[in-house]
């Protein structure tokens, strides 16, 4: 028979949006899932952010210094008098907080960090979803069609990225309502920068998680990988605590953790006075991270999606 040439003019990206939308539909058509995925970061932000009110250490439980041998009792009495003055305590607290966290309010510091946290947790599931598709046979079905292998992978990436951006917007919206104190340089346009940072970090992270799962057939392995990586990735970043208070051995690790850069970019855009040079470094790092790992993901998909 004669080879038949069908649809030669086919767009090389055909199917990419359909595959992405397939995943998104599972989310926005399922109000229960949608609600759960928003509640989780809110719980972190509302409870963790409020309970870990570090500034309150100074103001909520005023201390008195006992007499110390060799120290002038009147000096201690003077300090104790200051320590029982709420205005003084508030001042100490605000100064120390601003020095360490860049803002006097830990909740503001933390709620912006939650944006990275949400992105991390959302992108982790893209690895799971490729394992499910393999198990249910959908992956084989898709592989038997002329859709680009890279599109199969990138649809999962974009699904995670789009979800992350929407969740980030919701989280920031709630944070404003709950008392996030924005910085002097903040304008609503800065939010576009925040979404760009989420886009880049989400793209890199989900590419990594998909690459880990690309040959896997076991859901359990993926869950173990997620459990192994999620909190360490968070703790080795500046999402919850500034790197300046971390031990020396940990600091270099935070410097290679992309979450640090995404969080720093977000904080600069929302909370801090913008340091243009530092912001550019953040975006350069995030851009390289996204480009390198999505390329690695696509290369792996050519070789390893088929068996």
């Amino acid at each position: 028979m004669k080879p038949r040439n069908q649809q030669n003019s086919r767009n090389p990206l055909h199917g990419l949006w359909s595959l992405t939308n397939r995943e998104l539909k599972k989310w926005y058509k399922n109000p229960y899932l949608l609600a759960l995925s928003i509640i989780q970061p809110l719980i972190w932000m509302g409870l963790f952010g409020r309970t870990m009110d570090i500034g309150a250490i100074f103001t909520k439980n005023p201390i008195q210094i006992p007499s110390i041998p060799g120290v002038d009792p009147s000096a201690i009495a003077g300090i104790n008098a200051a320590l029982s003055n709420p205005t003084f305590l508030k001042n100490v607290s605000d100064t120390m907080m601003a020095k360490t966290f860049g803002t006097s309010d830990y909740f503001s510091f933390m709620s912006v960090g939650i944006v990275s946290f949400v992105t991390l947790f959302t992108t982790m599931f893209s690895g799971m979803s490729i394992v499910w598709d393999r198990r249910l046979g959908f992956l084989n079905k898709a592989l038997s069609t002329p859709v680009a292998r890279g599109s199969i992978l990138m649809s999962k990436v974009f699904n995670a990225v789009i979800r992350s951006i929407i969740q980030a917007a919701i989280v920031l919206g709630f944070a404003f309502v709950l008392g996030l104190q924005v910085g002097a340089d903040f304008t609503p346009l800065n939010l576009l920068g925040v979404f760009a940072a989420v886009f880049l970090i989400g793209m890199g992270l989900s590419s990594i998680f998909i690459a880990i799962a690309i040959r896997s057939t076991r859901i359990e392995t993926q869950m173990a990988v997620m459990n192994l990586l999620n909190l360490p990735l968070l703790f080795t970043s500046n999402a919850l605590m500034p790197t300046s208070v971390m031990p020396d051995w940990l600091q270099p690790i935070t410097k290679i953790n992309p979450i640090t850069y995404a969080t720093d970019a977000t904080r600069q855009l929302v909370l801090y006075p913008i340091n243009m040079q530092q912001l550019l470094v953040d975006f350069a790092f995030l851009g390289a991270f996204a480009a390198i790992f999505s390329t690695v993901g696509i290369l792996l998909s050519w070789r390893y999606l088929s068996r």
């Binding site: 649809q7 249910l136 069609t145 068996r307």
Partner: protein, 342 residues
């Protein structure tokens, strides 16, 4: 590279797949599928049917060998191959969270078919498989038969030249199975489509296929039309059981005229005879004359079952399947029986 003979939709030469360096799932398989025929791949579980199909639909790389699908090489022109084939996998691959309509359009998009064409085709195909009424329902609510029909429709969305069906009626009830057979026959008759199907239901192969290949342990053991295969058995099959399991009376039976072959399994003898109706009494007489008691007797005209057992043996198979394949098969069976979508 293999030359395509005109008139062949599929040419397979020396196709081999080895898993984990030593498990030979498909072992130097050769065959051709002619334009417009329904070709059946018949074999026990784990014989290599799905592995073969997965290589032909380009989702699994061959370790060795070549195949030409619709004139394209599966290794070098996999994208062209994918464009001209349709695939209905063994498992239900439709997304349960989407509706039937969304699923079929998703398939169309994977083939890059423009929306104005794909919508028209999707309507036609849903009409063909009688799912128009249910197209806006979530697939999770579909019965096994409905899901199988949806898979058929999805597989046809690109008007494939060669249509691959892997165990198309696995787990279906008799009514749905018959209906599925009718759709398959219709595709051949109305559209002249070439169809490659795997099955381990012999009746299915007999009813549907123009030619069948029997595959076992990764090798094709015989190939031909169902009629030719039945005739190749060279006669009727008589089975006789005797009371004394220790005695071997094969040589007694062999001496009876028109007996062509005797195979002993415990106290049962599987005897190939010509003109069974006349020969059977003679055999009985011969056995009794030696003082043995016949406890059981049957005489069958050759069916594809007999052909199958002739070539693959009677022993049951220990399935050597991957966990993943086993999981999918269980899920398929469960859904086919309509026991919940998730």
């Amino acid at each position: 590279m293999t030359e395509t003979k005109s008139g062949d939709a599929l040419v397979v030469e020396g196709l081999t797949r080895v898993f984990n360096k030593h498990l030979v799932a498909v072992d130097h398989v050769n065959f051709q599928v002619k334009e417009g025929e329904i070709f059946g791949f018949l074999g026990p579980n784990g014989a290599g049917k799905t592995t073969t199909i997965n290589m032909l639909i380009t989702v699994l790389r061959p370790t060795e060998g070549d195949a030409i699908v619709c004139g394209y090489n599966i290794a070098k022109q996999s994208s062209e191959v994918r464009s001209c084939i349709g695939v209905v996998p063994q498992e239900y691959t439709a997304d349960e969270d989407l509706t039937g309509w969304e699923n079929i359009l998703l398939c169309a998009d994977l083939y890059g078919i423009p929306r104005d064409i794909s919508k028209k085709r999707a309507e036609e195909l849903l009409e063909l498989v009688e799912l128009t009424k249910f197209k806006d329902k979530q697939v999770a609510t579909f019965s096994g038969g409905m899901r199988r029909r949806l898979e058929l429709a999805c597989g046809l969305i690109n008007r494939p030249h060669l249509f691959f069906l892997d165990e198309p009626t696995l787990g279906l009830d008799v009514q749905t199975r018959t209906a599925t057979w009718n759709y398959i026959k219709l595709l051949k008759k109305e559209y002249g489509m070439t169809i490659f199907l795997t099955t381990h239901y012999l009746e299915e192969a007999d009813v549907l296929c123009d030619r069948v290949a029997i595959i076992d342990h990764g090798k094709i053991v015989t190939i031909g039309t169902p009629e030719a295969l039945k005739e190749s058995l060279g006669g009727d099959i008589m089975t006789v059981s005797i009371k004394d399991g220790n005695a071997d009376i094969s040589n007694i039976i062999e001496k009876v005229p028109r007996v062509k072959e005797v195979k002993k399994q415990d106290s049962t003898y599987r005897i190939k005879v010509e003109e069974g109706e006349e020969t059977a009494p003679t055999i009985l007489d011969a056995i009794r004359a030696e003082g043995h008691t016949v406890t059981r007797l049957s005489l069958t005209k050759p069916t594809l079952d007999e052909v199958y057992l002739e070539y693959t043996g009677r022993s049951m198979r220990e399935e050597e399947e991957s966990k993943e394949a086993a999981f999918r098969q269980r899920a398929t069976m469960r859904r086919a029986r309509g026991q919940g979508g998730r």
